[in-house]
């Protein structure tokens, strides 16, 4: 799903700048060719999507923009307050900045860890010849169950004061630590939980590795390339489209994390694990500040859009599409 320039020239779609260039003359021409019946059936088939888009996405997003300029506690009607919410957020809400910093730290550390881990394991699995299927299945298992509440609860106990992790350290004669009770380490338990679920990224990398023609490696061995050189000159460049896709999806995913900070640490200790979505949830659904929550959602959307745009923009420099002349 790496967005490429559309093969047809009447419409060029640049992701994610949302820039759509249409050639009106060609559209008019093609419009003549398409029969009214085809248009009608087409719209009939996609009508559930259109209704959903209007009612469940477009309207809510616009309504959220409106709400972000108001004060609204679900009772009565929203009161217009202009930029107050944004002003308060940026100048008068230390918790907002804390949650922002925590989220950037969490996503900035956890996403690269997961991706590097996924790539290394995929490389190892690609070399193995025996029981690949079994390993693949077993290593994917944490991802399958990872999103569930049961795993978050388990993680809380695993790293608890008398949890398994401390028990192992104790048995090995190492000092134990209050992992979830120390503001310095609590966020790391969440990062480890995120990294543990590397399975789906691993599968995508594995599929990408299988697509690299063997002849490339054979030819380079003849030329005397060593495995490390092969990795940096062949494997990595050819995997870049997959890396791009994984990075974008994981960054969005990481910024939107909620369940781990809600269940494992509940934001504590000393607010060291209040991720952005958790703070937004609290503002909106515990303090019933719908306007403020909406303003937070918009700030988040802008950040994610900018990050995604930045990743795609920079991808011109590092993503290599096969058959493309450099």
């Amino acid at each position: 799903m790496i967005p490429k320039k559309s093969e047809q020239h009447d419409s060029v779609v640049h992701f994610p700048n949302k820039k759509i260039t249409y050639n009106p003359v060609k559209i008019l021409k093609s419009r003549k060719k398409k029969s009214g019946y085809e248009n009608l059936t087409g719209y009939l088939f996609i009508s559930p999507f259109l209704i959903g888009l209007m009612c469940l996405t477009l309207y809510p997003v616009l309504y959220s923009l409106y709400l972000s300029f108001t004060e609204y506690d679900l009772l009565g009607t929203p009161t217009w307050t202009g930029l107050d919410n944004y002003q308060r957020m940026f100048t008068n809400d230390a918790m907002f900045w804390t949650s922002m910093k925590t989220t950037f730290f969490y996503a900035g550390v956890a996403v690269p860890i997961r991706l590097v881990f996924a790539l290394l394991v995929a490389l190892a699995l690609n070399k193995i010849t025996e029981m690949v299927g079994l390993y693949r299945t077993m290593l994917y298992l944490p991802s399958v169950v990872g999103g569930s509440i049961a795993i978050s609860i388990m993680w809380r106990q695993l790293f608890g004061n008398d949890g398994a992790f401390n028990s192992i350290l104790d048995t090995l004669g190492l000092p134990t630590h209050s992992w979830l009770g120390d503001p310095g380490t609590a966020i790391w338990t969440l990062i480890v939980l995120y990294g543990w679920q590397f399975g789906s990224s691993m599968l995508i990398f594995l599929a990408g590795l299988r697509n690299i023609p063997k002849t490339y490696y054979e030819a380079s061995s003849v030329d005397g390339a060593r495995p490390i050189q092969q990795f940096f000159k062949i494997t990595l460049p050819l995997l870049t489209p997959v890396i791009l896709f994984n990075t974008v999806m994981q960054v969005i995913n990481g910024f939107m994390a909620f369940t781990p900070s809600f269940i494992v640490t509940n934001g504590g200790p000393m607010n060291s694990t209040v991720l952005f979505v958790l703070y937004m949830y609290r503002r909106a659904f515990e303090f019933f500040e719908m306007g403020y929550g909406s303003a937070m959602a918009w700030v988040m959307l802008v950040i994610i859009a900018l990050l995604t745009a930045f990743i795609f923009k920079s991808s011109d420099k590092w993503v290599h599409y096969e058959g493309e002349q450099k």
């Binding site: 087409g42 559930p48 469940l56 390993y135 298992l141 999103g147 543990w196 995508i204 974008v248 959602a297």
Partner: protein
């Protein structure tokens, strides 16, 4: 590699092991996986749930939500995917781009306005906010099924057309039976996401009788009130069983689905 895999699976084994330990000994030798004695009664104890509501209720609730919303999202997504993949209509590209953008839009963006909307309809504490939106297609599944339909030769459609089949006939008689594997993949993922869904029930459900397993488990495991650790781990284990079963039966579809489409967990 074996060691690494075992290390990765340790937490899961620990969860299952702890569910069989006697509550008072769960944390005495926490690192042990295999308990000294197997306490299956944890499962019976845990199943009794809390506040007089057993896990039978929670499981039934979860199944109702999951099954209806999975059927809804798979059927509507297939319909929409066919429209995008095979019919040429004006504005198709524009709507397709809209769909791809919705796919990247996080749920958290529409969480607050949707809540206000459904609250206005009086849908709080019903399953409607959890189920109804799935009937308008899920962008991810639409995309997955479009990719699959594109691999079906158009000659089939044309042959059916010559035989007098209309667009709807082609969809029901030719395409539907052929996209079953893609629908299966979508159904499995829908099952996972719905089963694990926590935010939705947390926002919309207020009566414990209506809770699905995920929310019940959260309440059951409240760190301030849990005393019966064995039972808590037992119910956590049970909540994962449907996921495991589906995974081991259908893992081929899942792995293929992820590998070909680049699906995230």
């Amino acid at each position: 590699m074996i060691l690494f895999t075992l290390l990765m699976l340790y937490p899961l084994a620990w969860l299952v092991g702890s569910s069989l330990k006697e509550s008072s000994t769960v944390f005495v030798e926490a690192h042990k996986i295999i308990p000294d004695a197997f306490h299956f009664e944890n499962y019976i104890e845990g199943w009794k749930g809390f506040g007089g509501i057993t896990f039978t209720t929670f499981f039934t609730n979860s199944l109702v939500i999951v099954i209806i919303s999975t059927i809804g999202s798979v059927l509507s997504s297939t319909l929409i995917a066919y429209g995008f993949a095979r019919i040429n209509f004006v504005g198709k590209k524009l709507w397709f781009v809209c769909m791809m953008l919705t796919m990247m839009l996080p749920y958290e963006m529409v969480m607050i306005p949707q809540y206000i909307m459904f609250n206005g309809f009086g849908w709080i504490d019903t399953y409607l906010p959890l189920i109804l939106p799935t009937f308008f297609g899920a962008p991810f599944f639409i995309f997955l099924i479009i990719q699959f339909i594109r691999t079906i030769p158009t000659e089939l459609d044309q042959a059916a057309k010559i035989d007098g089949c209309g667009t709807f006939g082609i969809f029901f008689r030719i395409i539907c039976p052929l996209v079953v594997p893609a629908m299966m993949t979508a159904a499995i993922f829908s099952f996972y996401w719905r089963w694990d869904d926590f935010m939705g029930p947390l926002l919309y459900l207020t009566t414990p009788e209506k809770y699905p397993v995920s929310l019940a488990l959260k309440l059951f495991s409240d760190p301030n009130s849990v005393t019966n650790w064995g039972a808590m781990f037992a119910m956590s284990t049970i909540s994962l069983i449907p996921v495991f079963i589906i995974f081991f039966i259908f893992q081929r579809y899942i792995v293929d689905g992820i590998s070909t489409s680049g699906l995230k967990s």
